[in-house]
Each structure stands twice: as structure tokens, then as C-alpha cells.
């Protein structure tokens, strides 16, 4: 009896699972088909449903049918191809890294490809399509190799997301610098950088089709080995699966797919992350989907549905002519960022919180020497920043200027230059302090106002004001930045507080909000001023360009206040950073103290953004380096971190102003170029 029932179950289950899997796949195919049909009836030409029908039946006039054949169909097919490629690539990357957040975006594959294509565009060499796809592939593969190498496979999501996003920010900074330097050659590259599936005829699709098919086939052939990896490395080895070889091959195929997608449509955000995530709950019900050979293609189908859905939605909501301006990738990124937030809330914190970095506790002398060196360095950088520029000055000029008796040219130059130096210095100091406070309160050494979405929110607030109000005053911009930062931070901190500010949740929430706000900023720029992206782009790249003395005022006030406050409350900071219980035992009202420090951190970050735009990495790197130098007591960390932040941003601003003078690069771009490698180095050093 028992034997019989067992065999019945044994036979029944796979059958039911197969039916379920087939049903899901069929449903998805149907969904993609419906979206595809709707998609080809949308566009700028007066070719609607009936014309499309006529064209497909060969009854339409030449003009209508050419629109359908050379514009609508290629766009639709590109959408499906890109979706398949990204979805499958994301699924494969997540399987081999055993990490639910691995995706072309988080592995910086897209950023690497984007930079490679940007370099090609700038050199003015017009490569044939396949060759530029090759460049994208090389760029993407290099980026993925760096990120996977640094984060380690299967070693937790946070390291991966952090390494990936750090590299992404660094690479994108270089690409943005290219956009600013070669505005004519790269015109449109900015918009393209957001991703869009429109095509100029079938050529692109035809050339990428074999690449995508090859990539998909490669992954399918690899499917069983990838599944074996899911059992753990040792088990896989026991089954005779070459672990290393399988991983490398899978990553190469996935990168090939992403590179093909990037070449065809630009970096389309977060599809590679969302599509497998949507398949996962399905896979819990239909076990067949857990196998890579079915799971990866199904994730591809979901990807196709996401992209076509975004494209259809865009054209349904805004008029066709405006839709041409709005990149599909922005829509998918906004959707994707919501996803990341939801996933963050559902993730359990399986990773042990990163062990506090083991630090030697340096003595008082070491601290004093460090401060002395930093003060000297800051002084040197400030002197350099004031003297150097397109017009080089001498110290005597500055002395004359401070005494109000400098000559005409010197007065002009310094009047214009000094506010910029001050803005950079103060913004750097404010971000460093903000980072120190956030890291103390969240007890999370990786928390940073940029990564936590606070500066993204501030940027969105400020860009909204900058683009809509013609002559907004510095205080209005600062206020808007603060409103944005407050909204973003209440979202991130509010949601993260429930888990007690744990690593994963906080960082993932922050990354989600960061991605969402940057996509929205792009959207605001594209829609509000399609013909002058330089201004907002400059602002986004963290520039002190055009700063006047009044602009520096808000950050000065906030920084001074916060410095005094954190000096007074330095003991509380130490306690808050320690653990949950000790402060309570000592009678500290923990929640109130935390809230106070967080509000200060948000104010600092927002006023820094208002003064100098979006500047990343400083809030992360400065406190980290400070702790490494002088231990973890805040009486020592705060001054050292503040000095380091000020030096870093002042130096970045100086380089940005002088390297390619008279043209200039934003300080934020420079901090990303300097900060990203340092951050990656930190990750290497902490690798266990």
C-alpha cells in the first residue's frame, strides 16, 4: 500500500510540475505577444491598429508598411531580444553567484559597456556595429570580473552590491566626464545612456540576434552544471562538475548577452535584476522553474514582458512625440528601484553583520600627529586651489587680495575662485561628518549618505527647483534639497528601522532609493530641457561651478552647528555606535539620540548637495579612513574625518578646474574617480 501510494506520488508530482511550468511559460509567451501587438500600434507616425493590420496583411500603402516593417517591428523585436538577454543573464548570474542581487546592473556590466561605447564615440572612429558590440562586451566583462573578483562568489549580497555600485559610479563618472568634454560628439549619448529600444531598421536586430541566440544556447547547455552549483561547491565537485570553469563560462555568456543588449538599446536598468526576482515566487509553486534550463528562459520572457510593458506604458501615458524623448530605461529603472526596496524588506539578514574592523588603538601622539599632518595637507591643498587655475597666481597676490588692495585682474580671479574653493571644502567636510554620524547611528561601516539615497533625494529636490524656478535663491535650493533628502531618508531609515538598521536591509533600501532618484532626475532633465542637458548634468556631477559667497552660507551654518553639537555629544556618539544595550543601561534615551544624529546627518548631506551638487564616496571613505588612522573614539574620528573630507573634495575640485582648463569637470566626477578605487581597495582589504 505504502509502496503504491509512493509510486503514485512519485509519478504524479513531476507531471503536475511540468504542466504548471508549461502553463506559466505559455502564459508568459501570451503576455509578451499581447504587449508586442500593442507596442507596434504605437509610435509617432499616424499608423494605428488598422494600418498595422493592413500592413501585416500586405494591403497597406508603401509608406505605412515601411513604418511597420522598418520602425515598429524592429523596436518590438529589439524589446523582446533585450528583455530575453537581460532576464536570462540576470538569472544565470544570480545562480552562479548564489546571490539574489547579482545582475548586469549590480555587477557594473552595463557601466563598463557604456564607458567602452563612450570611448569609441569620443575617438570618432565609427566602428561597425558588431565591433562596437565587441567593445561593449570587453568593457562589460572587465567590469564584471573586477566586481566578482572583489566580492567573492556566494559571499553575501552586500559586498556584491557595494563593489558593483562603487565601480558603476566610478565608471559612470568617467563616462559623464566624456559627455561633458565632448558635448557635440556625444550628443544623444546621455539620453542613450538611459536606454531606449527604438531602432533604425532591422540591421541592429539582425546583427545582434545571433549573439543573443548564442548566449542563450550557451547558458542552456550549461544549465545542468549551473544547477549543480546550487548544491554547493563541494557537492558540485563531487558530481564531477568543474566549479570554476562553470562559473567563468556562465559569467562570460551572461556578459555577452548584456553586452548585446547594451549595444542594441543602451543600458536598460534593472530588468536583469527584476525578471529573475519575479520568477522566484513562481518557482516556489512550480518546481520545474527552479531548474536553470527552464528558469533562465522564463526569466528572459519576464524580462521581455517588462521592457515591452514599460514601452507600451510610456506611449500610452505621454504623447508620442514626447515619448521619443523619454528613454525606456528610465521607466524600467523606476520600476526596478521599487522592486529593490520591496526585496530589501523581504530579505532576511542571513549575512552576519560585517565584523567591526579590527583596529589598533593608536595613542594620543599618533592622533595629534595625524591631525597636524592633515591640517598641513589641507592648508597646502587650499593654497594650491586658490593659486592654481586657468590664471595662475602667486601668494603675494592673495595677501594683497585679503587686504583689499590687489590689482584688477587678481581681484576678479580671486573673487570668482575663492567661493568655489570654500564650497568644495565645506561640502567635503559636511559630507564626511554626515557619513560619520550615519555610520555611528546605524552601526554600519558601509552606510553613507550617497549609498543610502539621501543625496539622491536631495539632488532630486534641488533639480526640481533648478529646472522649474528661473532664479531660485541659494536658500530655496538648499530648502528643496533638504525636503528631498528628508523624504528619501525617512523612507530609507523608516523602513530600515524595523530591522534595527541591519546591514542588508539598510544598504539595499538605500541603493533602491538611490537608483530611483537618479532615474527620476534624468527624467526631469530630459523632459524639462531636452536641448540643454549640460546645465543639469553639470549640477549632477557635483560641480562648484558658478558658486557665489551666498551659496556657501547654508552649508557653513549647518556644518558649524553640527560640529559643535557632535563635539558636545561625542560620548553619546560613542555609545550609540557601540550596541543596543549599553546606552540604555547608562540611561541614554537611545531612540531620541539616534533621531537627533540622523537629522543632523541629513541636514549636512542636503546642505552639501545644495552647495556643490551630487558628490559621492566622501561620506564613506573619510570616516572609514579616519577610523583606520585614529581608532573609533568620536572625539578623534570626527575631526580627522572632517579634515579628510575637506581635503578630498577640495583636491577633486582643484583637479576638475585645472586638468582640462578652460573647460572643467565636476568635483563629484573627480571624487568618484579618486574615491571608487579607494573604496574597492577597502573591500579588497576587508576580504576574508
Amino acid at each position: 500500500m505504502a509502496v503504491i501510494s509512493k509510486s503514485v506520488v512519485g509519478r504524479d508530482r513531476p507531471a503536475a510540475a511540468t504542466t504548471g511550468t508549461v502553463a506559466v511559460t505559455a502564459g508568459l509567451v501570451l503576455l509578451v505577444l499581447v504587449l508586442a501587438v500593442v507596442d507596434i500600434t504605437q509610435g509617432t507616425a499616424d499608423v494605428g491598429a488598422s494600418e498595422v493590420r493592413d500592413a501585416l496583411l500586405g494591403r497597406a500603402d508603401a509608406g505605412d508598411s515601411s513604418v511597420v516593417i522598418a520602425s515598429r517591428l524592429p523596436r518590438m523585436v529589439a524589446g523582446i531580444l533585450v528583455g530575453l538577454a537581460l532576464g536570462a543573464a540576470g538569472a544565470a548570474l544570480q545562480s552562479v553567484s548564489r546571490n539574489v542581487l547579482a545582475a548586469p546592473d549590480t555587477l557594473a556590466v552595463n557601466a563598463g559597456s557604456y564607458l567602452a561605447l563612450g570611448l569609441v564615440a569620443v575617438t570618432g572612429v565609427s566602428l561597425p556595429f558588431l565591433a562596437s558590440s565587441g567593445a561593449a562586451f570587453v568593457g562589460g566583462l572587465a567590469a564584471a570580473a573586477v566586481v566578482l573578483g572583489l566580492s567573492g562568489l556566494g559571499k553575501g549580497t552586500v559586498r556584491l552590491v557595494l563593489a558593483g555600485s562603487a565601480l558603476m559610479l566610478g565608471l559612470n563618472a568617467v563616462t559623464e566626464a566624456l559627455l561633458l568634454l565632448f558635448p557635440q560628439k556625444t550628443e544623444g549619448l546621455y539620453r542613450w545612456g538611459q536606454g531606449g529600444i527604438g531602432q533604425n531598421g532591422f540591421d541592429g536586430v539582425q546583427q545582434m540576434l545571433p549573439v543573443v541566440v548564442a548566449g542563450l544556447l550557451g547558458l542552456l547547455l550549461l544549465g545542468r552544471r549551473v544547477d549543480a552549483l546550487g548544491l554547493g561547491d563541494d557537492a558540485a565537485r563531487g558530481l564531477g562538475v568543474p566549479v570554476r570553469g562553470t562559473r567563468v563560462t556562465a559569467v562570460v555568456f551572461a556578459t555577452l548577452l548584456s553586452a548585446a543588449a547594451v549595444t542594441l538599446a543602451g543600458p536598460i536598468g534593472f530588468v536583469g535584476l527584476c525578471a529573475p526576482a519575479l520568477v522566484r515566487p513562481l518557482a516556489r509553486r512550480f518546481r520545474g522553474l527552479t531548474r536553470s534550463r527552464t528558469g533562465m528562459p522564463v526569466a528572459g520572457l519576464v524580462g521581455a514582458a517588462l521592457i515591452l510593458g514599460a514601452d507600451v506604458l510610456l506611449r500610452a501615458v505621454v504623447p508620442a512625440d514626447l515619448a521619443v524623448e523619454v528613454p525606456t530605461g528610465v521607466v524600467t529603472t523606476v520600476v526596478g528601484s521599487v522592486f529593490l526596496v520591496v526585496m530589501a524588506l523581504r530579505t532576511r539578514d542571513t549575512d552576519a553583520a560585517e565584523a567591526p574592523d579590527r583596529l589598533r588603538i593608536p595613542g594620543r601622539t599618533a592622533f595629534l600627529v595625524t591631525v597636524a599632518v592633515l591640517v598641513v595637507a589641507l592648508f597646502a591643498v587650499v593654497v594650491g586651489a586658490v593659486l592654481l587655475g586657468d590664471a595662475k597666481l602667486l601668494l603675494g597676490d592673495v595677501v594683497n587680495w585679503t587686504q583689499g588692495r590687489s590689482g584688477r585682474v587678481v581681484t576678479y580671479v580671486l573673487d570668482a575662485r575663492v567661493p568655489r574653493v570654500l564650497a568644495a571644502l565645506l561640502a567635503g567636510a559636511a559630507l564626511a561628518l554626515s557619513g560619520t554620524l550615519v555610520q555611528a547611528v546605524t552601526r554600519n561601516p558601509l552606510a553613507e549618505p550617497g549609498i543610502l539615497g539621501v543625496t539622491g533625494g536631495a539632488g532630486l529636490g534641488a533639480v526640481l527647483v533648478v529646472t522649474t524656478v528661473t532664479a531660485a535663491s541659494s536658500w530655496v535650493i538648499a530648502g528643496a534639497a533638504f525636503a528631498g533628502a528628508a523624504a528619501a531618508s525617512s523612507l530609507v531609515f523608516g523602513l530600515a528601522a524595523r530591522g534595527g538598521f541591519r546591514q542588508n536591509r539598510l544598504v539595499l533600501l538605500g541603493m533602491g532609493v538611490f537608483a530611483g532618484t537618479t532615474a527620476l532626475i534624468s527624467l526631469v532633465i530630459v523632459v524639462s530641457d531636452p536641448f540643454d542637458t549640460t546645465r543639469a548634468l553639470t549640477w549632477l556631477s557635483g560641480s562648484t561651478y558658478g558658486r557665489n559667497m551666498p551659496d556657501v552660507l547654508p552649508v557653513t551654518v549647518v556644518l558649524a552647528g553640527a560640529l559643535v553639537w557632535s563635539a558636545v555629544r561625542r560620548r553619546e556618539l560613542d555609545l550609540v555606535a557601540l550596541d543596543d544595550n549599553t546606552p540604555r543601561l547608562l540611561g541614554l534615551r537611545l531612540t531620541r539620540a539616534r533621531l537627533g544624529f540622523l537629522v543632523a546627518a541629513v541636514l549636512l548631506a542636503a546642505s552639501a548637495v545644495a552647495a556643490a551638487g551630487l558628490i559621492g564616496f566622501v561620506g564613506l571613505v573619510a570616516p572609514h579612513a579616519a577610523r583606520a588612522l585614529v581608532g573609533r573614539r568620536h572625539a578623534r574620528v570626527v575631526p580627522v574625518a572632517v579634515l579628510l573630507g575637506a581635503i578630498l573634495v577640495t583636491l577633486a575640485d582643484l583637479l576638475g578646474r585645472t586638468v582640462i582648463a578652460p573647460a572643467q569637470l565636476g568635483a563629484g566626477l573627480m571624487t568618484a574617480v579618486i574615491g571608487a578605487p579607494y573604496f574597492l581597495y577597502l573591500l579588497v582589504r576587508t576580504r576574508r
Binding site: 507616425a45 509608406g63 549619448l189 533604425n200 512625440d321 590664471a391 585682474v409 549640460t534 561651478y545
Partner: protein
């Protein structure tokens, strides 16, 4: 290690200070600026309503946008500072630069440092420059802002800009000549079109850019400068898309061109940046099926006509357009 660091930092600072000592310019005690007699003072009201007083006709002039650079050159003033000199040379050959101006950086972000070091007696900017930057420039020199474009009256805006620059540089007579030559050129070209039976012909002016695999077409609608010149030439605007308020520009893709119908399609490209229509669209089925492409009514105008320039550019534009239309 740290001591070593401290020592080397100190040495570096000391060396830097020594090298940087002295002044690059005498202090005001040593040299007082020579004051000009008040009688020569000029006061102009610029496009933003700001009253700007100059000591006399400006001669050392910096310009941050290409249309005002062109105005200066047309009036016989050699600017001392110009944004993106290389770009201007490529895009505007109707009014080639005179003198040897210093490059002051990009048009969107002219370097205040560089402008300040030039010590100009006038900076001509457009209202596209952000108020913060204008505020900084005002500390350096008097700044007049010219309206860069206004969809309500492009040609009027263009000549008002020219007049404003002319008043500040004492070249009002030259401005009249430039305007008269522009009007004469338009009248002559209009007549040439009528003689060729092209009066009232429908024209679509455009330029185009490639982003990845997409070609975006920028439409110069009736409210753009080129569109306004087209109408002044007696031609009719064929675009149905609506342009932005200032420049009268709109973006569409190759599909959007199907709404044009039977028109004369003229576009401006530049060898420096490529020709999206010839390089990227020539094999596209939608493009090939467009009636004006089939009839061979597509004209690439010669390089070097700045689409947002002044009267000289627009003269060159009218000449080249009429040339292209009447050639066959």
C-alpha cells in the same frame, strides 16, 4: 612613517610657498586705473532689463555664446575671449573669427577664471547662462545678456541682440549695414525662389543625431530661427510637431517624418560630427519610402551655417537653401 609624512608635507608646503611668493600683478597702490571722462559713458538696458553702464564703447569683449560672437565679428569687433573656439570655427563659417581670441571653455560653462584673467571691459552673454554665473561675471566686468531665442519672434530677437551688442560697442552704424544686407539678401533670395516657381513651397528644416541605433531628428518648426527665415523667404513650414517656447525645436524619429508629406527637406550637418541622414538613414525603409526622398528633394546644406546664429549666418543659410532648392 607619520613623522616622515609630516616632514615631507612641511617641506612641500614650504617649497610651494617659496615658489608661489611674490605677486603676478602690482597691487592697486602701485597702479591706479585711468578713469575715462564721464561724457563717453554708455548706458544700455539688456534683455533681462538690467541697466548696464560702460565707461565708453567696449573694445575688449568676451562672448559666451556663438550667436553673440558672430554679432561681434559682424560688427567689426574682434572678441578677446570666445567659448569653444574650435567648435565655432567648425560650425560658423559665415562670420569667421577675427583676431586671435582666447578659448574661455565650453559654452555652457565658460571659465570665470579665464574671463577674469582677460580683464575684459564687456562680457556679452545670453539669457541661457545661469543667474549664478552671471552674478559672478558681473564682478569681473559689466555683463549684458542677450535673449538667445524667443519662439514668438526669432528674427526680431536676433536683430535686437545685434543692436544691443552694437550700442555697447559703439557700432550702431555697422549694425544698420548688417541688418540692411540681411534684408537685401532675403529679398533677393525670395525673388529667386519666385522666379523658379518655388514661392510658397513647403519646406522642412532639420538636423539629426544618432544615439546607438536610433536616429533622432530635430525639427526646426515655424517658431525656430531657420523656420522664421524660411517663412520670410516666402516658403511654408511643413512641420506639424510643436517646438519648445524658446528655440522652436522639436524632436521626432524617422516615423515622425511620414507626417511631412511632399516637401523640400533641408538639413544641416557637419563633417566634424557626421551626417545622420546620409550615414544612418539612407538604407532605412521608412526613409526611402518618404515622398521627398523618392523625389530627390533632400538637401544637405553646406557646412558652417550656425542654425542659432545672427544675420550673417542667416544670410548664408538663405543663400545655401535657395541655391539647393533652385539647383535642379
Amino acid at each position: 612613517m607619520k613623522r616622515h609624512l609630516l616632514a615631507s608635507a612641511t617641506v612641500a608646503v614650504a617649497a610651494l610657498s617659496l615658489a608661489a611668493c611674490g605677486t603676478s600683478e602690482p597691487s592697486t597702490d602701485d597702479a591706479a586705473p585711468s578713469a575715462k571722462p564721464a561724457a563717453q559713458k554708455i548706458t544700455v538696458t539688456d534683455a533681462t532689463g538690467a541697466k548696464v553702464t560702460l565707461d565708453g564703447p567696449a573694445t575688449k569683449v568676451v562672448a559666451t555664446e556663438w550667436n553673440v560672437v558672430e554679432d561681434l565679428v559682424a560688427l567689426g569687433v574682434s572678441p578677446v575671449g570666445v567659448a569653444d573656439v574650435k567648435g565655432y570655427t567648425a560650425w560658423n563659417t559665415a562670420a569667421p573669427l577675427t583676431g586671435d581670441p582666447k578659448d574661455i571653455g565650453t559654452r555652457g560653462e565658460p571659465s570665470i577664471d579665464t574671463v577674469a584673467a582677460l580683464a575684459p571691459d564687456l562680457v556679452v552673454a545670453t539669457d541661457d547662462l545661469s543667474p549664478d554665473v552671471v552674478a559672478q561675471l558681473r564682478k569681473v566686468a559689466p555683463v549684458i545678456q542677450v535673449t538667445s531665442a524667443d519662439g514668438a519672434d526669432q528674427i526680431g530677437t536676433m536683430t535686437e541682440g545685434l543692436d544691443l551688442v552694437a550700442r555697447a560697442t559703439g557700432k550702431t552704424a555697422e549694425a544698420t549695414t548688417v541688418k540692411n544686407e540681411f534684408e537685401a539678401s532675403i529679398a533677393e533670395n525670395k525673388k529667386a525662389l519666385e522666379d523658379a516657381g518655388l514661392g510658397g513651397a513647403r519646406v522642412a528644416s532639420a538636423d539629426g543625431y544618432v544615439d546607438a541605433n536610433q536616429v533622432s531628428v530635430r525639427a526646426f518648426t515655424a517658431n525656430s530661427l531657420l523656420g522664421s527665415v524660411n517663412e520670410k523667404l516666402g516658403l511654408k513650414n511643413a512641420w506639424t510637431v510643436e517646438g519648445d517656447k524658446a528655440y522652436g525645436l522639436a524632436t521626432t524619429d524617422v516615423e515622425g517624418l511620414t507626417k511631412l508629406g511632399d516637401v523640400h527637406f533641408s538639413y544641416i550637418a557637419n563633417d566634424v560630427d557626421g551626417d545622420a541622414f546620409a550615414d544612418n538613414l539612407s538604407k532605412n525603409a521608412v526613409w526611402k519610402s518618404l515622398p521627398f526622398v523618392e523625389d530627390g528633394n533632400v538637401h544637405r546644406l553646406p557646412d558652417g551655417v550656425w542654425m542659432f546664429g545672427g544675420p550673417r549666418s542667416m544670410e548664408a543659410y538663405a543663400d545655401s537653401l535657395v541655391d539647393a532648392l533652385t539647383k535642379k
